[in-house]
Symmetry: C2
Subunit: 317 residues, 2 copies
Amino acid sequence: MEKHNIPQLLDIQQAHQRIRAYIHRTPLQTCAAIDAIAGCQIYFKCENLQKVGAFKARGATNAVLKLSGNLRANGVATHSSGNHAAALARAATKVGVKSYIVMPSSAPEIKKAAVRTYGGEIIECEPTLAAREEMLIKVVNETGATFIPPYNHMDIIEGQATCALEMWEENIAFDSILTPVGGGGLLAGTALVTHYLNKKAKVYAGEPEGANDAWQSFRAGSLIPVYQPKTIADGLMTSLGDITFQLIKTHVKDVFTVSEEEIVSAMRLIYERLKLVIEPSSAVPLAALLANKEVFAGKNIGIILSGGNVDLSKLPF
Amino acid sequence: MEKHNIPQLLDIQQAHQRIRAYIHRTPLQTCAAIDAIAGCQIYFKCENLQKVGAFKARGATNAVLKLSGNLRANGVATHSSGNHAAALARAATKVGVKSYIVMPSSAPEIKKAAVRTYGGEIIECEPTLAAREEMLIKVVNETGATFIPPYNHMDIIEGQATCALEMWEENIAFDSILTPVGGGGLLAGTALVTHYLNKKAKVYAGEPEGANDAWQSFRAGSLIPVYQPKTIADGLMTSLGDITFQLIKTHVKDVFTVSEEEIVSAMRLIYERLKLVIEPSSAVPLAALLANKEVFAGKNIGIILSGGNVDLSKLPF
């Protein structure tokens, strides 16, 4: 990773200007009842209320808008069955660019329908990572589309950083900001912009025990992917990439892991008290905070609720 | 009802000043996907994010704050097992006033716990309306507490009117505003403030078919209470009072009834698309709009999501 490639503060601010007509400026919500339980003052950044129901709209939109006219003509492509797929399809359609989304044939129909609704073309493949990557290469070769990866890419990280940028613009003296960590795009972007804007503030990640590659990598000092992750937080199954890991290693204070029970319990608290529909991944930072109250006691804390795309018929309560 | 008792615009504005330090100014949320389905532009006023999880915080706080010092010393009382009970307990405790809440012994433990958490004293009675009223009279006689009814009271209506006042302050040219109707406090307040601020705008109510006293009364021109109401929208079981009915008759354009299936379907849409946790009552106005799309086609519509207190283990999906 060349250091001069790392997005600077001005780059992130320009990304925010670039995407702001295409995304929501999501609200910060507070809840006295949760504060009383947590022993600190928490501001929840509601990316579950973001376009496509997740922060992924930011990075995907930024990456598509940064493409030159030449490249736009050939379209964009990715492989994903999650929020990045929907976000990329929507961002591309908004600016008249074609999008090819490689999805496993086993992906739920509701996820395929979302991509189609946003105007993406779905290319199905066998449900293995090898088959997905192979199919993606085929699509890119045949169409000339530009591959927009879900997290391990500077334009994506720059876009995700606009979420914490909006939080800092609210003039709240955050002592710490917590995000979930899967591939690390949101965490890296949050850590980067916080590093620029407040050298004293700390950024922490929450991660499920059953997909603890960031926790392991952070401690080992080198990338340790997790094979066969298992957690209700389906958005956090992916492992860090080399780019996100370098930024996280440099700018993140610590990674906390939480159990499945702690995730479900925090998720329930957010439904009952904040009255917000979130996907399980979004509950992971609050679960991490509640399991480590002494670290945050009496402080001003920002928590990013990363998304709200959940199968209502499979809620764990 | 003496006409000079009806809250004027200045009264409602003063009520808003009075209560604003005790309540949230709740956000207005929009959703492109729901707009596409509905064929109009909808702004959802999120009273599910209000203190105690419902608009009831407004009226109860207004009524308590308007009590003179003399009366405050003896406390306040009500009979309710719903949001008004929690709202009154909280409002009273906030200003150092004692609150007596008469609740049926059969009320769910979670509702009793909420009242206790807010500092209310629960007095249990048999689960009949007669027993509740008898016990309330007893409590009032013994303590000198002031009875604060849940809806049929000018201070309550004045307080609930501050919700639509905030909506109009956003400078959106609403053609219509829809609210649910149970006892009619929210509906009457909304109709009143809308009448003052925009003579052309219309206020409509949504009501469950299984508790259709407002629909019947509106058509008959006289109060027709419903006995044995039956609906998933548990906040809308109560019938109109004489005060709320007079205001509704004068200032509301129409009442629409909706089936249980329509309520559940609209509720699901709000969870899936708006990512908000609401109680079934809150889904009734959207259900009414979707069943009468031709009335609202292409217009700017405000919908009040009245509350978010729902038993998550009993969601209808």
